[in-house]
Structures are given as C-alpha cells and as structure tokens.
Symmetry: C3
Subunit: 100 residues, 3 copies
C-alpha cells in the first residue's frame, strides 16, 4: 500500500472569501479540495458573551509540507488582514486512487 | 508567521445537545466554534448489524491544551451520562486573523 | 477520564460509493460513523487548470489502529481502482459515552 505523509489544511472563513481562497489554492499547486458550509459562531468585539453567528465556508485541502508552508504564509499575509478567517494544519497519512 | 500549537476538539452527538454543548464551550472560555449537520450511523444496542441513522450535530472548537482538558472532563462527567455523544481531540498548528 | 488513542479515518469520494463504503465499514468492524455532503473540486484529467466540481460524500470513522490498517488496505485494493476517492488517517484521543 502506498501511503504518504501529507498536510491537511483546513480554512474556515467568511463565505465571500470563497473565490479568492480557491484561486490561491490553484496558485500554490493544490490538485483538489473540498468545500462545505458550516455555521461559525465567534466572539464579536471585546466581549465573549456576545456571539455572532455567520454562514462560513470550510475548505479542506491536502498538500505536501512545502506547499502547506507557502499556503499558510500567503493566507497570513494576503487574506487575514482582509477577511475573518482561521486556518490550521495537521499531519495525515494519505492513500488515494489514480483518478481522484 | 505566528503559528500556535493548539487542540482541535470535535464533538459529535444528538442535535438536542446543541444548546447545552455550546453553553459549555462559552463557560470553559472558547472564543468561537463551528457547527455543522452530519448524519450519524451507529450500532444500536448489542448487535452491530442493526444500525440506526440519526441527525447529529458536529461541533469543532480550537482551544489551548489546558482548556481542552477541562472541556473533555466536563463532557465526560456532565454530558456523556445523558447524551449519545463522542468527542475527540487532535493537535493542530493554527494561524488566524485578528478579527476571527 | 478514560481516553483512548484511536485512528480517525476520513474517506471522501463519489456519492455513488456510499453504499459499498458503509458496507465495508461494517465488515471491518466499525461501530459507527458519520456522513456528510461536501463539494469536491479536483483536477480533471491532465490539466490542473480545468477543475471539475462534484457532489461528494465524506465519511468519518474512528477505529483502533489494526482496523485502520485493514480498512485502508481494502479501500486501496477494492475501491480505488473503481471510484474517484481519497482516504486519510490521523491520530485522535477519544472519549465517548456508553450509548454512542
């Protein structure tokens, strides 16, 4: 069985970031990703007691470690100043079919 | 790039646990979380052959390790005796924007 | 608190693989799993520029390491030649209620 240690990057943010985020994924060389709708609930302003509910998108992409670094850096520099967004990475062991 | 090692806690359970779970998240100090609908299929009673399908909620929250411990303990003691539920944690490296 | 180190296996693929995948999960001894709909976007054919969007399913299941190995092997041998599909595993620390 050919398994590969890769990075799973999860990006959660405002739905309006969808188009620029997916363009970024193609630019850094991602071969595919999944998108789903989630309900984001976050602290609004200073007081945690006030929580705002938002329609968010969740993007998940599997990439090699070097692409992960590049992706995280570009998110931090180009996206985070402009969008409400969080991104996190974790290690995964991946198997895939030829045609995925 | 400022990245932080945090815990991603995923809680999957009966939809009716939504309100008490999200209240618990605020109590332990979580600043935000996401909610989504999933279809849960689980062994019903003794026989694995009989599987029940349920509308479940999936809650994902990112917290520091100490908050994760507290959250897992309170789930185990206060929620698991009363709700069909599973929770798991994994390590993630996180970057986020100021306004998320 | 009784926590267990387990494997979280995530399988993403064509919606038509739903029935055979869930049957496989029962065969390898999984006690439960969750299903959700995701939008998969992947490279189509040779050129990454052409991306196809598909209605995919995402199946998540928590199993002991030995079951994970068996599951990944059977996916690779029996499913990947026939379906567009990806599977990945990660380590999780799990707590669960008696009745989940």
């Amino acid at each position: 069985m050919s398994a590969h240690t890769m990075k799973l990057v999860t990006i959660i943010g405002e739905a309006l970031a969808r188009e620029p985020v997916t363009r970024l994924l193609r630019e850094v060389g991602a071969h595919g990703y999944t998108l789903s709708q989630v309900e984001g609930v976050g602290a609004k302003g200073e007081r945690t007691a006030e929580m705002a509910e938002l329609a968010n998108i969740k993007v998940e992409v599997i990439v090699p470690p070097a692409v992960c670094e590049l992706l995280m850096e570009r998110l931090q520099k180009q996206f985070f100043p402009n969008y409400g967004m969080i991104a996190y990475e974790t290690n995964v062991r991946v198997i895939r079919s030829e045609k995925f």
